[in-house]
């Protein structure tokens, strides 16, 4: 089983067939194409997307439905093609694809990029960061404060 030394998780072992491949990389990281999704029971529903080419590159992500249950995926033809979804006109989250929003932790509070979720083909694990078409979603969607803080 191949393994890889990472900055955040130490050495991780993974199955080659679990490798997520972004044929075009990610905007800003065009030459980073291979990732693995790391999930930890205590970190649910977060998903850590660790690069297999850069030990220090790891995105914190969350399923878009965990952020906005009504999120609707609208992919362009080019993006569908990149994720091996040419024949799937309307990819369904959870059935055809996994859709993860990249989280940024900033001083003003964490935000999720709902404008361009990472869309992973569940069959081939081909993936693309898909910029939503005709969408009102923000690239900096604020994660709401915990409920306790609001009530106190």
């Amino acid at each position: 089983m191949p393994s890889f030394d990472t900055k955040s998780f130490g050495r991780i072992a993974f199955e080659t067939r679990d490798t997520i491949e972004f044929p075009r990389g990610l905007p800003g990281f065009e030459d980073r194409r291979r990732f693995v999704a790391i999930r930890q029971e205590r970190a649910r529903p977060l998903v850590f997307l660790q690069s297999l080419e850069d030990p220090g590159l790891c995105f914190i992500t969350a399923p878009v439905l965990a952020v906005d249950p009504r999120f609707r995926l609208k992919m362009s033809e080019e993006d569908r093609e990149a994720a091996d979804l040419s024949s799937v006109r309307r990819p369904r989250i959870g059935k055809d694809v996994w859709a993860l929003g990249v989280i940024s932790v900033r001083e003003t509070g964490p935000t999720v990029n709902l404008l361009a979720p990472l869309v992973i083909n569940l069959r081939s694990l081909r993936a693309v960061q898909a910029v939503m078409r005709d969408s009102a979603y923000s690239h900096r969607h604020a994660l709401p404060e915990p409920a306790e803080a609001v009530c106190s």
């Binding site: 969350a62 399923p63 952020v67 989280i103 932790v105 690239h139 994660l143």
Partner: protein, 97 residues
């Protein structure tokens, strides 16, 4: 901002080296052809936002305070509906067999 009306097939020049052709006008979308020098990057604005956002996300460091994030995801009222184990299991269903 300078506004110009153009028909399909017509062209706009920016300086001597950049040419913009209105290639096709659809109901809600226009197709635009752009001729520019190689060293002038041409990208959709959204892509620039996404690139900056990715860099910011990666720059924060992987072990950023994710414990705090969890609270926001779990206690958020709009989340609870979609956050049943069944939904998560479906999302996590990797094609292993």
């Amino acid at each position: 901002m300078l506004m110009m009306s153009r028909r399909a097939g017509e062209t706009i020049l920016i300086g001597d080296r950049i040419e913009i052709v209105i290639a096709h006008i659809g109901r809600s979308r226009v197709k635009v052809g752009i001729r520019a020098p190689r060293d002038t990057p041409v990208i959709a604005r959204e892509l620039k936002l996404v690139r900056e956002e990715n860099r910011a996300a990666a720059g924060a460091g992987p072990v950023a305070d994710w414990g705090g994030l969890l609270a926001r995801l779990e206690t958020s009222p709009q989340v609870s509906a979609a956050l049943t184990d069944k939904d998560i299991a479906r999302q996590e269903a990797a094609p292993k067999n």
